[in-house]
Amino acid sequence: MPSQNGSSPTVALHVEDLTVAYQRKPVLWDVDLDVPAGVLMAVIGPNGAGKTTLIKAVLNLIPRAAGRALFFGQPYEQARSLVGYVPQRGSVDWDFPTSVLDVVMMGLYGRLGWFRRPGRREREAALHALEQVALADLAHRQISQLSGGQQQRVFLARALVQDAQIYFMDEPFAAVDAVTERAIVGILQALRAQGKTVIVVHHDLQTITDYFDWVTLLNVEVVASGPTAATFTPENLRRAYGGRVSFMEHGQAAIATGD
């Protein structure tokens, strides 16, 4: 699936010599990465490969040992408004006393800046985003009453209101049912159709070729990165996952259990 502006190689995300270490154990090692604008990209790799760390490090959420990241040529401090971030669903306390609509409006806090409170415009934008993820009915629910899939869609709506150019999503498909997964994929593909760049940490190797047109295989170092058709190969998978991938027909892969 060629991306819309595949011919004009604007680089949405440029990562250069990025190294992150916890204590002295390297988690990301000298990562170089270029993601063209307008692709829907999966970041895959075994557990502990540094997928979440990659997102957090480029967004300045954790300290880097070396390297830098540029968004459309700008460092993160200047590109904040271009970037949307969807953290892992489990990273927040869903018993927090607030409503669905409130959580979605949080996506607009960055645009409001310090001290200004959200008003009617922000409410309407948030409601519109909730409509896009088919949760408008639940706008005034307490967030603890949501199912896992609904929580994920609330996070997605919160990213949508940001109206960013490049989105980072940390395992949006974790523990959601098939219906929700299809709904989320629909939203991601709609984002790409608008020319946005979407970078997704993903686990299910079965769906890579269906959902994504670009893929980065990561295992502390970047194993390979490029268009899915050329990059998502048995050879690269073996290099990323070691011997723990068994291949089924039609080039589909699955992680073998038992390690």
Binding site: P87, D93, P97
Partner: protein, 495 residues
């Protein structure tokens, strides 16, 4: 502080005359309840954020470790800077705030090592800092009196007595110098004692001494007859100034940064990604907690202040699922606890029951010799009353309360029973075995239910008009049929 007190007094005067204010400010009950309410507002508001951040017990740690900050600041002040020892110096407040932040930073460092969990990390840091403070106090600060009682429970009952006076009218301070016409000058022999002679001796030398020279405050000047009009004074309890200021700062902080605090409490990663500095907000919050812990120390002690930080937010959390409402409810619950707590300390339970009557009744009934006068610790009674309110919230909370949960369970059980019977009728009606399956007298045997339960369900279904009984056989009414179909639609036919 003096200027701030003046401001508070002037604000009060917009609403009342000095004659009306003084009796109020010298009433032990009013001052204790007011002070308790101010602590409740600060603690209740900040405690909401502590609770939601999963760090409620940090308030406990901080309320103890601020002692280290106070002691170190005291040593720096007297030892290094050579200032006179002054326990109300703002330097001590700075020290306390620094100690509060140090507590949190050390806890996080230990936790981040990955070797110790958060609760244990807090348990490591807080005795460490407290121990250092105790050693420093016992080694270097022996002239400062710290009394165990006041550390434990504070002295909120005496807050009314420790006042600054503020003069409003006829505030003429008088200074009399020896050349003032009002000066009373006497001659005094300077060498009489040395030479052991009488003042009448010719060798005696004299100097003039002023008997009434010096500075007179307005009140002293009036008493000495130097001014004609009595000054109008307001006696302002000192402890209200500190807590009043902290209340203003706390409310200002939360109102101004409501959105930022909410986001960084709910999702610190997004707050950081959007450029709000969650780390900075975090430490600002800890500084405020430290300041309130210090400010409330005199009044309620370093242990019971924790009650003001934890109990009201915990109760408010049960009563609402909106942060804004929680931030309103929590201080209200705390203030109500302070109000009824004072009464409890003086022997009155919610103004309904007198403890002395209860004790007297006990003495009569059991022949015991309990002392009937009830007079107990005010701060402890306030904490106790807050807990009573928490239990009330636990019982009546609309969503999680014991009452509503058991009511909801009972209602669900009833609805489920109803649906089981309706479904049974729906399936067997009109079939060959209907007469046997649907006979009211034997229905309970088919479902293996106790007869009483079946009778209750049937009674209810007939009352709703969902079934009819003809000749001992139960039938669905059209409404009953609708019920079954709606239930199947909602729960069984879903894909």
């Amino acid at each position: 502080m003096g200027a701030l007190e003046d401001l508070f007094v002037r604000l009060l005067l917009l609403f009342a005359t000095p004659e009306a204010i003084n009796p109020v400010l010298s009433d032990p009950r009013t001052v204790a309840v007011l002070l308790g309410a101010l602590i409740a507002v600060c603690g209740g508001v900040l405690g909401v954020y502590l609770l939601l951040r999963g760090m409620a017990l940090t308030s406990d740690a901080i309320s103890h470790t601020v002692l280290l900050g106070i002691v170190v600041a005291f040593l720096v002040m007297t030892g290094l800077l050579g200032l006179p020892p002054d326990l109300s110096s703002p330097l001590l407040i700075v020290g306390a705030a620094a100690a509060g932040v140090l507590t949190v930073v050390l806890t996080e460092l230990i936790e981040r090592s990955g070797l110790v969990k958060q609760d244990a990390a807090l348990g490591l840091v807080f005795p460490l800092l407290f121990a250092v403070a105790v050693i420093l106090v016992s080694r270097y600060v022996d002239n400062v009196h710290i009394d165990t009682d006041s550390v434990l429970v504070g002295e909120i009952g005496m807050a009314w007595a420790n006042t600054n006076s503020h003069c409003l009218e006829h505030c003429e301070a008088v200074t009399i110098t020896p050349d003032d016409p009002r000066a009373v000058l006497t001659r005094q022999c300077v060498n009489c004692r040395a030479l052991n002679i009488s003042p009448r001796d010719p060798r005696a030398e004299f100097r003039e001494v002023c008997a009434n020279c010096g500075m007179y405050t307005p009140a002293q000047a009036y008493q000495a007859g130097l001014t004609s009009a009595a000054p109008t004074l307001v006696f302002w309890p000192k402890s209200l100034t500190v807590m009043g200021l902290l209340t203003l700062v706390t409310l200002g902080f939360v109102l101004l940064l409501y959105k930022e605090l909410k986001l960084s409490t709910f999702d610190a990663a997004l707050a950081a990604a959007l450029g709000f500095r969650p780390g900075m907000l975090h430490y600002a919050l800890m500084v405020l907690v430290s300041l309130v812990a210090v400010g409330a120390f005199d009044a309620v002690g370093s242990i019971l202040v924790v009650a003001f930080f934890i109990i009201p937010p915990a109760a408010a959390y049960l009563l609402t699922d909106r942060l804004g409402v929680m931030l309103l409810l929590s201080p209200v619950i705390g203030a109500a606890g302070a109000y009824w707590g004072y009464d409890l300390a003086r022997g009155s339970v919610f103004g309904l029951v007198e403890m002395s009557d209860v004790l007297a009744a006990l003495n009569r009934a059991l022949g015991t010799q309990l002392i009937e006068r009830w007079d107990s610790s005010i701060s402890a009674s306030m904490a106790l009353m807050m807990f009573v309110l928490f239990v009330a919230a636990l019982v009546i909370s609309p969503r999680y309360g014991l009452v509503s949960v058991s009511l909801r369970r009972a209602a669900m059980r009833q609805q489920f029973d109803d649906q089981v019977i309706l479904a049974h009728l729906y399936r067997h009606e009109g079939a060959a075995e209907a007469a046997d399956e649907l006979a009211v007298a034997t229905l309970h045997e088919h479902l293996r239910w106790p007869r009483g339960r079946m009778q209750r369900v049937l009674l209810r279904l007939r009352a709703w008009g969902w079934i009819q009984v003809e000749a001992g056989i139960a039938h669905l009414t059209p409404q009953g049929r609708q019920q079954v179909e709606a239930f199947r639609e909602a729960h069984l036919l879903q894909t």
